[in-house]
Subunit: 427 residues, 2 copies
């Protein structure tokens, strides 16, 4: 029994999937135990599929037609959390077709509603390619790391942001300049907001958290800070303290609920996440009792992402369907989000101050007033009266208390800019 596959969207990833299905039929058949046929597609633009023999493949002008056709699996690679992508996925599931997608935005926003559509009809809704590109982390959380409760899942989930931070560190150049270059080279989108603003990481984190904790995907509870305000100075200071700045997505089971956040963080040099370079992605799953797993690989690009889509298709061919988020949607817990106000961690703080007597006293007093204690400190400045940086790392402190202190400090006429605060992330 041949498994018939329809693909919506023949961009970089779609063309990659088509290429593998057309070129590696025998190998996939051996793994799947049955033939897999690329039966139909819909695509506004097929320029990326140049060189592929699409002669035997039915082309639909309307992607929605794929949900009504005779394909067993619809692969949605159009992207976007609403519109055609959402419409197609819903229609395909309702028509009893399996769906494979790389669309993290769609699933982060609507996964809680889409999962039951799939599970009621006993079809798959698979999304390995939505997180970490070719890294099989969705499968690992869904099928492998299941014997013991997971306490936290943390990752570098956006290759564009990691590329920019890596370049800023290597060159000492400011964010805007490095972003511009990344855009010229095609490493960053014309509108980079979703990448550098942390939204894409939040989408992916939402999916990982649901898989790790057995909870309803809860995008609205992710606290998001992007990398736009990370300065070359912060990266240089981080290095002096033995840290690197990374955009992390962190989901943690706390006694008050699930904490989900995306923010630049100071990661200790020499730990696995700190060493993730350029556009690579990585995920750490902490399973308690010092039992952690680390996964690293290319988080984007044709080869890796198509590889993840194809693995999902072969899984479906083999009958490995399973619940969308690991346990049936009806059994996913609605975990309360952990109160962000209660969050405590060691923090990196940077103040740009006028080099005049009393400034250090004022900053110290404001922090002490809020019960924040300083672990290490660095002041660097040359010209009295000019701006100098005061950098410190606090002991573990309530972030809300630190924020109050920073607000008071920012109001001082001895302080130039809004102080910078970056959490320190444990290894």
């Amino acid at each position: 029994m041949t498994l018939k596959v329809a693909i919506a969207g023949l961009g970089t990833v779609g063309a990659g999937v088509a290429k593998v299905l057309l070129a590696r039929g025998e190998a996939l058949r051996a793994r799947a135990g049955r033939p897999i046929a690329f039966a139909a597609f819909a695509a506004a633009d097929i320029s990326k599929a140049k060189g592929l023999d699409l002669g035997g493949v039915k082309r639909e002008s309307d992607p929605q037609a794929l949900a009504r056709g005779d394909a067993d699996v619809v692969v949605e690679l159009m992207g976007g959390e609403e519109g055609a992508a959402r419409e197609l996925v819903e229609a395909a599931l309702k028509a009893g077709k399996h769906v494979v997608t790389a669309n993290k935005a769609l699933l982060a926003h609507h996964g809680a509603k889409l999962a039951p559509l799939a599970e009621e009809r006993n079809v798959a809704l698979k999304f390995e390619a939505a997180v970490g590109g070719g890294i099989p982390v969705v499968k690992a959380l869904r099928e492998s790391l299941i014997a013991n409760p997971i306490s936290a899942v943390r990752g570098i989930l956006n290759g564009t942001s990691n590329f920019i931070l890596t370049q800023m560190e290597a060159t000492g150049r400011p964010f805007a300049e490095v972003l511009g270059e990344a855009q010229r080279l095609g490493y960053a989108e014309a509108d980079p907001t979703l990448d550098v603003g942390g939204g894409d990481t939040a989408h992916k984190l939402t999916l990982l958290a649901s898989l790790a904790f057995g909870t309803v995907p809860d995008l609205a509870s992710v606290a998001v800070t992007g990398i736009e305000k990370v300065s070359a100075a912060d990266i240089a200071f981080a290095r002096e303290f033995g840290y690197r700045v990374k955009l992390l997505g962190i989901a943690r089971a706390t006694k008050d609920g699930i904490e989900q956040r995306v923010n630049p963080a100071m990661v200790k040099a020499g730990t696995p996440l700190a060493d993730v370079e350029g556009s690579f992605n990585a995920v750490v799953a902490d399973c308690g009792e010092a039992d952690s797993y680390f996964f690293e690989g290319r988080g984007a690009g044709q080869g890796p992402t198509a590889s993840a889509v194809v693995a999902d298709i072969v899984d479906i061919a083999r009958g490995n369907i399973g619940a969308v988020f690991g346990i049936p949607a009806t059994k996913l817990r609605k975990a309360p989000p952990a109160a962000l106000a209660a969050r405590a961690s060691a923090l990196y703080l940077r103040f740009q101050v006028r080099d005049v007597p009393g400034v250090m006293a004022e900053i110290s007093r404001r922090l002490a007033d809020e019960g924040v204690s300083i672990g290490s400190m660095l002041q660097r400045g040359r010209s009295p009266g000019e701006a100098v940086a005061i950098v410190m790392i606090t002991h573990e402190a309530a972030e809300a208390a630190v924020a109050r202190a920073l607000k008071a400090i920012a109001a001082s006429d001895k302080v130039f800019e809004t102080p910078c605060m970056i959490p320190m992330e444990a290894a």
Copy 2:
């Protein structure tokens, strides 16, 4: 329909599996879609299961009885490539029962014969716990990294050896002393041969190679060198050159066939494998076009290994059976082993020589005679006439040619010990 599980062997891992099955029934049921019951066990010694309520679990005095009982899955955790373990696995498969095992020796030796037994009866023979402890690398190779051909799989697969090398590096102490301490602490077996001699790594590599390349497991073709002769001096010199010494298992698809080898290797500092510390394990899968995946985690211990066994049991409960080595045993290729004589790589060489005129000339000439060219060199010595170390890293050279040169050099009366040769491993 409850899935009934029988466990043979309640040592550290068996007790860990029992504990999870008894304590996490509801969570596993949600993932498996059906109840999983710990129904029976056989164990000579149940001291590790202290604290577990085995009241409702049937105890057999003969493990072979588990193959005749009413369990759906037999979990073999007795170990050993022959004897009771092999007998039980064969009998269970012949009786149409699924088998889960952590027994790499058994599968490396007999996997080619056991796989058809399982596949003919459409039952599972799963072994996630046999390689890399809790790291889901077997599943990753079997189900995820399947769209594109894998060019190489490389790993740190023996935690004991990695622990010893890490300790030797940290303390500068010799192999025998660190091994003795590891034995006293319980990190190394009384008979450490299988670990430090590379045999255990060879077993695991054989399984990874079969999964990665779709080939018949071929333990006999693995070239094995252990870490017994790695000296503290080699580790210190490695560090000076920017490398660390690791015991690697490497399987590579070459144009002549599959190369499989286990040996100490110089791994460039800062690359993922070089940073694997202590008893951790890690695997790199190279999928071509600079697309590599890295997996790291605890390679042994109760929690991680039991976690892998439980994941296999849940997979079976969900009906995810599949071919033992990813593709049906009848379709596994018998790939020719790559001729080891043709192997070429950059090599680290160390000579202990008498510090007299002409020694360097003799070594250089012997190497040049065999066409071996030297990339970098280091000589260190203080007292003329005494032993000094000459250390060099060659450019890529045929290992057979280097071996001939070393043999000639070893015969010189200016050279004290058998020269040491350690391959350099690319990142």
